[in-house]
Amino acid sequence: MATEFIASGERCLLAVYGRGIDEQVNERVHRMAALLRRHGNPAIEAVVGSYCTLAVHYNPLRSGFAEVAALLTDLEKELVTTTAAPARTVDIPVCYGGAFGPDLDFVASHCRMSEEQVIACHSKPAYRIYTIGFAPGFCYLGGLDEGLHTPRLESPRQKVAAGSVGIAGNQTGVYPLDSPGGWRLIGRTPLRLFAPERQQPLLYEAGDLIRFRPISESEYLTLAEEERR
């Protein structure tokens, strides 16, 4: 489909590159985001990509809506003439089960698998980060194996620890901060996903792939200790 440009107020333009959860559409969104950031146009203040939509925050005192749309149309041509760099894969170590994954047994029995099979199945794919939002560093991931789909908790927990890895319906993800939550928890990563004081506050960006790597409890404790330093 042709790109659609929609106003979200007087200083944000939404460029819509397709519909639905589609890897190619999403790749286009995040490549355009990268191109725009590199382009460094002084009228462009911020760029945020999601599943199929790119939000371009601009300063109307410098450029109008039509000029921003024209800039995007122009840059889009570069997508055809250049090839996409292969998506980066970010490794997230996870200690599955036990105190870190109190719902692993539930997920296993719901999915008619052993706990080991759930771990193998969950840590196999490279999950695409379609978008980041809801909370700092929270990833909307695609690609959870159908065999692992499990309904949420009937009533959410008051507090889920930062780093917890969970499944909710057809989604999987990691809680970047302590928060209430209703996902079935199967493990936890010792990494601090969102560390605003770090040069790179997040370990990944939208458009990257995430792979969960099973680790032992002692590896977890070692890595957690390193993260504290």
Partner: protein, 310 residues
């Protein structure tokens, strides 16, 4: 750089804010920042600060505090009857404090949020380019939280520049608020309801905070076949979302993506009016197009920079 104020009682929701954090939305970190840029900007100008200096935002009732050093402050925004050592003082003026002075404020008598600026600006560590508190993320501002009794706030040193002593005017916040809004981004889902939306007088509900304002008094119907929710996509402050029940929610400062369709978007030069909206106020949207919204923004930027006699 130096201790400036000690909080005696903070009021129900007092936070450190500046004009916002605009470059971390792609990390899932929302803009945050003052809910009323009008009052916050002039508070800063009255103490000779850059408009982007960090101020205190006080919601529904003000703080009481002791001055720990000689400093200039200005209190603007909602009328909260400030008293200096027990004696009533004006808002929208530059107010010199001596060490040991006690300032006490009451509940909002007009409007919802008051702002307190201090010469030099409040000194908290910038996070991702801003000193604003992001309550939902428990980061930024003063330890990522609302102020509490006993907190000591520091200020940055600043040269004494000529500054206006008072603002020659100040706004009265009406109980019937009109804001200009641009249809969209999802107005095609509300073809039949759009006209009605712009003529409805809504009521600000009790669910009203820095994340958003839920409105009562008039449900907005989506067209038959239009989806109740969409794949999460980026949102902006001012988006008027229509969730499944049809009661509009105006998104404000603490959200980066949303999964509901938005019928209209309040222009940024009118967001301050929403910062002064309190539960029970009436609210109506007036329709403008993108070009008019941009013209109004230009005028707004000029207004905030109005030359004032020093």
């Amino acid at each position: 750089m130096s201790d400036a104020l000690r909080i005696i009682s903070p009021g129900p929701c007092t936070t450190v804010q500046d004009l916002g954090r605009f470059h971390a939305m792609h990390l899932g970190v929302p803009v945050s920042g003052v809910m009323d840029d009008y009052a916050a900007t002039f508070a800063n100008r009255l103490v000779g600060n850059d408009p982007g200096a960090a101020v205190l935002e006080m919601t529904l009732a003000g703080a009481s505090f002791t001055a720990l050093a000689a400093c200039d402050i200005a209190i603007t925004g909602a009328a909260m009857g400030p008293r200096l050592n027990g004696r009533p003082v004006e808002q929208w003026v530059s107010l010199p404090l001596a060490p040991g002075d006690v300032v006490e404020m009451g509940g909002a008598e007009n409007g919802c949020r008051a702002y307190l600026a201090i010469g030099g600006g409040f000194d908290v560590a910038p996070l991702l380019g801003s000193r604003s508190t992001y309550l939902g993320g428990k980061c930024g501002g003063f330890q990522g939280r609302m102020l509490a009794a006993g907190d000591v706030l520091r200020r940055l040193e600043a040269p004494l520049l000529p500054r206006p002593k008072r603002l020659p005017w100040y706004p009265i916040y009406p109980e019937t608020i009109v804001v200009e809004a641009i249809p969209g981004p999802h107005h095609p889902y509300f073809g039949a309801a759009l006209e009605g939306f712009f003529s409805t007088v809504f009521t600000v509900s009790a669910q009203c905070n820095r994340m958003g304002i839920r409105l009562d008094g008039g449900k907005v119907q989506r067209d038959p076949g239009a989806p109740e929710s969409i794949l999460s996509e980026p949102v902006v402050p001012g988006n008027v979302q229509i969730p499944a029940g049809g009661q509009p929610i105006i998104l404000l400062k603490e959200q980066t993506v949303g999964g509901y369709t938005a019928i209209a978007t309040v222009i940024s030069s009118d967001l301050w009016r929403l910062g002064q909206a309190k539960p029970g106020d009436r609210l109506r949207f007036s329709r403008v197009d993108v070009d008019s919204g941009q013209r109004l923004l230009r005028q707004w930027v000029e207004f905030l920079a109005t030359p004032l006699p020093c």
